[in-house]
C-alpha cells in the first residue's frame, strides 16, 4: 500500500475543483440571465424557410448603390422568395428608377387639416409597417391656436370619444421632410441612407446596421426603428412594393416615410395625399412650373418647420 502525503494538495484534485468552480460560475450566470422569449416556431416564422444559399447571399448582400442592375435583379428575386416564405403571399419588389426632371415636394394646408388622422391610416395601410402597436410615419400634433411651441402639443389627442376638430385647436401633421440637406444622411456611418436624384431620402433596409445615429440627427423625429421583428398580419400585406420603399422590413433596422416611392415613381399620389378627406395635402414635382405644388409655393404664405436648422426641407406648411 502506498502512502499518500495528505499535507500536500493533490494538483489534479485542485485543477478539477477549479474547473468545477468556474463551470458553476458560468452555469449560475446562465440561470440568472433573462434569455429570449421567442419559441423556435415563432423564430422559424420570422425567417421563413430560407435555403442556406439564400441565407448566405443575403448575409453578404452588397450595398444597393454598389450593385449592378443584374445583381439587383437577383436580390429582388431572392427577397420575393423570402417574403413568400414568411407571409405566404406573392410580394412584388420593384426597383423603379427616378424620373428625369423630377424632384418631389409636399405642401400641407394647416387651415384645412382637421386632425382626422386619415393620412396616418392611409400610410400604414400602404407601407407594410409593423402593426399593433402601429409603427407610424406621420405624427399629427394638436396645438392651441396661437402657438407653434411643439412642447405644448398633444401627440395622443382624440381617444375615439372626443370629436375633432376641437374648438381653439389646430392640427399639424409631421412626417419626413425629405430635406435637401439631410442631417440623417450625414450621420449614418455606413451610408445606408441617402438622397435619391428625385429628392427622396431612402434607406437600404439590407445595409442598415441599426445604430440609430440618423434618428438622433433628425429634427422632425421622422425615423422609426424596428425594435422587434415587424408584426405584419398576412391579410394586411400590401404586395405592391419597392426595394427602397414599402417592402416588408426586418428586425433591427431603421425605416421612414419615402413619399410612397412605389407609387410616386409610377405617377401616383402618396397614400397620405389620397387618404386626406379635406384636401389639405398637395404633392407634386417641384421642377414642373405648372404643377399645383409650384402654384402653392408661389401664391401662398408658406413656411417650413425648424427652418433655422438649414436642412432645407421639401415639405411646406401654409394656411388660407
Amino acid at each position: 500500500m502506498k502512502f499518500q502525503n495528505n499535507n500536500q494538495p493533490d494538483p489534479k484534485r485542485r485543477a478539477a475543483l477549479k474547473a468545477l468552480g468556474l463551470g458553476a460560475a458560468v452555469g449560475a450566470g446562465a440561470l440568472a440571465s433573462s434569455g429570449g422569449t421567442l419559441t423556435a416556431e415563432q423564430r422559424q416564422k420570422h425567417h421563413g424557410e430560407e435555403t442556406f444559399e439564400d441565407h448566405w447571399h443575403s448575409f453578404f448582400q452588397q450595398h444597393y448603390q454598389r450593385m449592378s442592375e443584374e445583381e439587383i435583379e437577383v436580390v429582388l428575386e431572392r427577397l420575393e422568395r423570402k417574403y413568400k416564405a414568411i407571409y405566404g403571399v406573392e410580394v412584388k419588389v420593384e426597383n423603379e428608377q427616378p424620373l428625369e426632371g423630377v424632384v418631389f415636394g409636399y405642401a400641407l394646408n394647416i387651415s384645412k387639416c382637421k386632425g382626422y388622422r386619415e393620412c396616418v391610416k392611409g400610410c400604414t395601410t400602404e407601407n407594410n409597417q409593423s402593426k399593433d402597436p402601429d409603427l407610424e410615419y406621420i405624427r399629427v400634433l394638436e396645438l392651441e391656436k396661437g402657438t407653434m411651441n411643439l412642447e405644448t402639443a398633444d401627440h395622443y389627442y382624440g381617444d375615439g370619444e372626443t370629436k375633432v376638430p376641437q374648438p381653439g385647436k389646430f392640427y399639424l401633421p409631421v412626417q419626413c421632410h425629405h430635406c435637401e440637406n439631410p442631417p440623417c444622411v450625414k450621420a449614418c456611418p455606413v451610408k445606408a441612407t441617402w438622397k435619391e436624384p428625385d429628392g427622396i431620402v431612402v434607406v437600404d433596409y439590407n445595409w442598415c446596421i441599426g445604430c440609430r445615429m440618423c434618428a438622433n440627427a433628425c429634427p422632425y423625429w421622422a425615423r422609426k426603428f424596428n425594435w422587434h421583428e415587424p408584426k405584419l398580419p398576412v391579410e394586411q400585406v400590401n404586395p405592391e412594393t419597392h426595394y427602397l420603399g414599402n417592402r416588408p422590413r426586418f428586425q433591427g433596422v431603421m425605416e421612414k416615410c419615402t413619399f410612397c416611392i412605389q407609387r410616386t415613381r409610377n405617377g401616383q399620389m402618396p397614400a397620405c395625399q389620397e387618404a386626406c378627406p379635406t384636401g389639405a395635402r398637395v404633392f407634386g414635382n417641384l421642377l414642373d412650373p405648372d404643377s399645383e405644388i409650384r402654384y402653392v409655393l408661389e401664391n401662398k404664405n408658406v413656411f417650413r418647420l425648424k427652418e433655422e436648422l438649414n436642412t432645407e426641407p421639401k415639405f411646406w406648411y401654409y394656411s388660407d
Binding site: G21, R43, P189, V190, C208, A215, N216, W221, H228
Partner: protein, 432 residues
Amino acid sequence: MNLLRFLYDCGKTSLSGGRLYWTWIGVLLFFISMGAFTYMGQAQDGLVVTGMSDQVSWGFYVSNFTFLVGVAAAAVMLVIPAYIFHNDDAKRVVLLGEGLAVAASLMCMLFVAVDLGRPDRIWHLSPYPGMFNWPSSLLTWDVVVLNGYFVLNLLIPGYILYHQYHNRPYNKKLVFAGAVLSMFWAISIHTVTAFLFASNTARPFWSSALVAPRFLATAFCAGPAFIIITFFIMDKIAKYQIGNKVIDMLAVIVAVSMQINIIMLIAELFVEFYAEGQHSASAHYLFLGLGGKSGLTGWIWTAQAFNLTAVVLLMIEKTRKNRKTLILACALAVAGIWIEKGMGFVIPGFIPTPLGEIFEYKPTINEVKISGMVFGIGFLVFTFMMKPLRAIQLGILSNPELDRIEAVRMQDEQEKAHMEAQLKSYEESSKS
C-alpha cells in the same frame, strides 16, 4: 518565435494564481455568462428587451460607452509625466494606466456593438468590405480613434515589456514618439465622442460648444479617480508599492478637473435658466422635471451631491492625504461622473423629443445584465494583463526560478541604487 514565447509566458502567468485570484475570475465569469445569455435573448428578440424607444433611442449602453471613453482617455495623465517629463514615480505605474486604457477602450467598443440593431452587419462599419461614411459621420470617427487608441495602448506597453522580458533596453525615442502620439490621441477620443453628440442640431441639449471641454474635464476627473482606486487595490494584492507622490499628483488632478467641471456646469445652468427658452426644456426636465415627469431629477442631484462632496474632500489637504477619505472621494467622483455623463447627459438629450413629446426612459434588467457582461470582460482583460506585467517588472517571468519575495527585494535595491546615483549626480552638478 521570441514573440510567441513571450505571449505564451504571459498567458501562463495570467492563468496562475491562488484561491482568491480564481474566485475573482469566477465572479467575473458569472457576470459575463449572465450577460452573454441575456444578450443572446436580445439578439433574438431585438432591442425591444431594452427600455429604449423611438423617443429615447439611446440608453444605458451608450451612457456607459460615454463614461468609459473618459476613463480610457485618462491614462494620458500618467503618460505625460512618465514619458514626457520622465517622472520616476509616474513611470513605475504608467503601464498600469495604459492597461486600464486598453480595457476601457475595449469596453467602449463592446458597448457600441451591443447597442446595434443588426450586430450581424457590423462588418458594414469598415472601409472594406463595408462602406465607411468618413469623414461625414461622427460614429466612423469614433470607430477610428477608439481602435487606434486601443492599439496604441497595447503596443507601447507591449513593446516596453517585451524588451524588459528579454532584459535589454528599449528604444527611448520610439517610446517618446508613441507617447506624444497617444497624448493627442487621448484628447481626440473624448473630443470625437463629444462631437458625436454635439453634431446633432436637432438636439439642443447636446448641441453646445461646451460639451467637448466638459467631457475632457470629467474624463480627467473620473479617470484618475478610477486609477487611484485601482492602485490601492493593486497595492494591496500585488505589493505594487505605488508611491504616495503619484497618488497625490492624481488626486490633485481629480480635484482641479472637478472644479473646472463644476464651473462649466454653472455656466451651462446660467445660460439654460436665466432666460429660459424652448431649448432649455431638456435641462429643465433633467434638473426640475417637466410636464409632471421627473425620472432623472433623483439621478442628477445625487451626482451633484457626490461631485461636491468629492471636491471638498480633495481640496482639504488632510482628507486628500488620508487613505480612507481619499478612496471615498475618488469613489464619489467616479459615481458622480458616471451618472452625469450617462443618465445625466445622454438620456435628457432625447427628452423632450424634437416634436416636444416627453417620454421617459428607464433601463431594463436586461440592459443592466448585458452591461455587466461588458464590464466583466473589461475587468477580466485588465486582470489578465496586470498579472504578467507585475511578473515581468519583477523579472520573474524571464527567470521563473526567482523567488517572489526575493524579486521584490531585488527591485527595491535596484531602485535605491538608481536614486542614490541620481542624488550623487545632483550633488556633483551643484558642486561644480
